[in-house]
């Protein structure tokens, strides 16, 4: 108790999470997103093409379906690009920051001493570009877990090691 002091903290002098320079996702990750969507679109348009070819009643309405579909594709691509650009992360000494969101931009901060475990996830397409996703879990349930996609495999391994080290040390 003798050595215990309790000075007032100057809140303006605290490190600010909002001023941390954030690292954007790897450039190749955009290609991953594009390819994923391309697969979906190819399946969708094949179904559409087959419908036009084989269903009589569908032929007359084809244009009416096609125009919104194309607009939809454009909107989806635009949205996923904005979403890709918005996503960014930063690893500080004591916590990890992840920013995401198109309309509402959310920044979530998890201190390392609250991390329960870390997982590395490699998608099928991501693997082609040597990218990986880092998943960080807390005890706060799924709403407070984060998934950072589009990190180079090697870097992701390093980050995972770093996090594991931090967790170990906290224990």
């Amino acid at each position: 108790m003798e050595n215990f002091t309790n000075e007032t903290i100057d809140t303006s002098q605290l490190p600010r999470f909002e001023e941390v320079p954030m690292t954007p996702l790897h450039r190749s990750y955009w290609k991953v997103v594009l390819i994923t969507w391309a697969i979906v679109f190819v399946i969708g348009f094949t179904a559409f093409g087959l419908a036009v070819a084989f269903i009589e009643e569908f032929k007359d309405n084809a244009v009416r379906v096609a125009v919104p579909a194309i607009v939809g594709v454009a909107v989806i691509l635009l949205m996923s690009y904005v979403s890709f650009r918005k996503k960014a992360f930063a690893f500080r000494n004591h916590d990890v920051l992840y920013r995401h969101g198109i309309i509402a931009t959310t920044t979530i901060v998890i201190p390392y001493n609250r991390v329960q475990h870390v997982a590395l996830h490699e998608g099928f397409i991501s693997r082609i570009f040597k990218l990986a996703t880092i998943q960080i879990f807390t005890a706060g349930g799924s709403s407070s877990d984060i998934e950072i996609p589009g990190i180079e495999k090697e870097q992701a391994e390093n980050i995972k090691q770093l996090l594991m080290g931090k967790i170990q040390k906290e224990l």
Binding site: T107, V109, R114, S143
Partner: protein, 500 residues
């Protein structure tokens, strides 16, 4: 005499009866279609065969119950500090629980168990749901002993897991320090949960109405005749009566529900933990350890304020979100003094409201848009298309608008976030005013978010995640919110304070 749990032991022998009924229930649930068929064909089946068959089945179940009882053992492994349970007749399962992971030990008693005079003991862990363990038949003394043993693991925790908060270590005194009287429960029943009971009642009435209509469509009741009975004046009168009856029914349901559920609610202090026990038919007892508490909230409305009662809810660390509701422990009908005593035991001091954060007026505007403007637009869109018939309900509009406006305005006025060094308190609600209390060291993650059109107004959202659920504050001053986030992060990262 100290009970010895170090050697594997079985449940109480009368537990076979519990096992028997449990097994019957299990099979009945699995085989009910066949049972239904049997019941309908009751007359066609040979009575003797049926009788013999039933006897045989019951005998079989009896044997299974006995084997289940024989094969179920539990013991405390002192070397590894584990609680070990083995069960299963053909497929053996061995469940091992590290003692320091045990969150809660509940002692329950169902009606059947009450007749036989045994108790059930359930062990809750922080892990997944499958790990939960229950002993179905155990004598009360043994249950209490085992519970004490299971929870007496503070010293055996790994060094990091020792809670930092200094809870006053009062010796276990068996005398309950809070005893919620029948009168308090009556007050709670009268003043709360109107909406939930209304929902129950409506569901009930709609089911009946639906059945009556189906009945009438089959030609048992002549619909024209039925409709002709009711004239306009009678409708108004019966609506009035209906409202009164409905209100009365709601209160009666509430009172009965509260009484049955919380009958004989006592809170005992036990080595710095709280021991709750309550229930008329199913006596339930739960232990709450202060260091595992994540969110404490208390709710009261205007009437309850006048009567000096409130409802306290305690959320503890959970494994999944699905269990969140189940895990919240409710203490109904305590007064302000008792609340402060409980809070003091849980937190070490009584939370004070400090710096106040208010939401931006846009929160009210947006709420009005969502709850009033949109539904009205919908109503008139339908009314204009459907024609005159619909417009006769026009009188509902001003009633609804005034009601909704009142609710929203009060809700907005009560929506506040209070911050002190030790506590974050969120106040919300229009009628039932709720105060949620979180300690900053229990935070798991912090999220701030802002809609792009709110950038200039400098307002945004704050979400605080804990292991017992999350708490959000909407449209507060963004600069201030970020400042507090930095402060809380600083606090969490510079100390080894434990959240569990």
């Amino acid at each position: 005499m100290e009970s010895n749990f170090n050697v594997p032991q079985r449940q109480s022998a009368v537990g076979i009866v519990i096992m028997f009924f449990d097994t019957i229930q299990q099979y009945a649930r699995a085989l009910w279609p066949i049972l239904v068929v049997w019941i309908f064909k009751f007359n066609d089946i040979n009575k003797w065969a049926l009788f013999g068959g039933t006897l045989l089945v019951l005998f079989g179940i009896g044997i299974i119950a006995y084997l289940k009882y024989r094969n179920f053992t539990f013991f405390l492994d002192d070397q590894n500090d584990e609680f070990v349970i083995t069960e299963g007749i053909l497929n053996k399962t061995k469940t091992t629980i590290a003692l320091y992971k045990i969150q809660q030990v509940n002692i329950k008693q169902s009606l059947l168990q009450r007749f036989i005079g045994v108790h059930a003991l359930e062990v809750d862990t922080a892990g997944s749901k499958e790990q939960e363990v229950s002993i179905k038949a155990i004598s009360h003394r043994l249950a209490l002993d085992l519970k004490a043993k299971l929870l007496d693991n503070e010293t055996k925790m790994p060094a990091n897991a020792v809670a930092e908060n200094t809870v006053s270590q009062t010796a276990s005194d068996e005398k309950p320090f809070i005893d919620i009287s029948l009168l308090s429960l009556l007050k709670v029943g009268i003043t709360s949960n109107y909406i939930r009971s209304l929902g129950l009642l409506l569901a009930f009435f709609f089911t009946i109405y639906d059945n009556v209509m189906r009945f009438s469509n089959q030609g048992y009741i002549n619909e024209d005749q039925f409709n002709g009975y009711v004239n306009k004046a009678l409708i108004m009168q019966s609506i009035g009566i209906l409202v009164v009856v409905l209100f009365g029914a709601i209160i009666v349901i509430n009172v009965v529900r509260t009484m049955v559920r919380y009958f004989g609610y006592t809170i005992t202090r036990q080595k710095g933990s709280l021991l709750l026990s309550f229930g008329l038919f199913n006596t339930k007892s739960t232990i709450i350890k202060p260091e595992k508490v994540q969110i404490v909230s208390f709710t009261r409305n205007y009437f309850q304020k006048k009567m000096d009662i409130l409802e306290l809810k305690i959320k503890q660390a959970t494994a999944g979100e699905k269990e969140e509701r189940k895990q919240a422990v409710e203490i109904p009908g305590c007064n302000a003094v008792e609340r402060d005593a409980i809070l003091k035991l849980l937190f070490g001091k009584i939370p004070q409201k400090g710096v106040m954060l208010q939401p931006n007026f846009r929160k009210l505007v947006f709420a009005i848009f969502l709850a009033i403007v949109l539904p009205l637009c919908g109503f008139y869109a339908v009314a204009l298309n459907a024609g005159e018939d619909f417009l006769q309900f026009n009188w509902i509009v001003p009633v609804y608008v005034i009601f909704a406006l009142l609710v929203l305005c009060f809700g907005f006025r009560n929506y506040r976030l209070f911050i002190t060094g030790d506590f974050i308190i969120k106040q919300s609600g229009a009628w039932d005013i709720k105060n949620e209390i979180i300690e900053p060291q229990k935070i798991q993650a912090l999220a701030v978010s802002q809609l792009f059109w709110h950038k200039n107004a400098d307002i945004g959202y704050l979400t605080i995640h804990t292991a017992g659920g999350k708490m959000s504050f909407e449209l507060g001053n963004y600069t201030v919110i970020k400042q507090y986030v930095n402060l809380w992060l600083y606090g969490m990262e510079t100390s080894d304070s434990n959240w569990m």
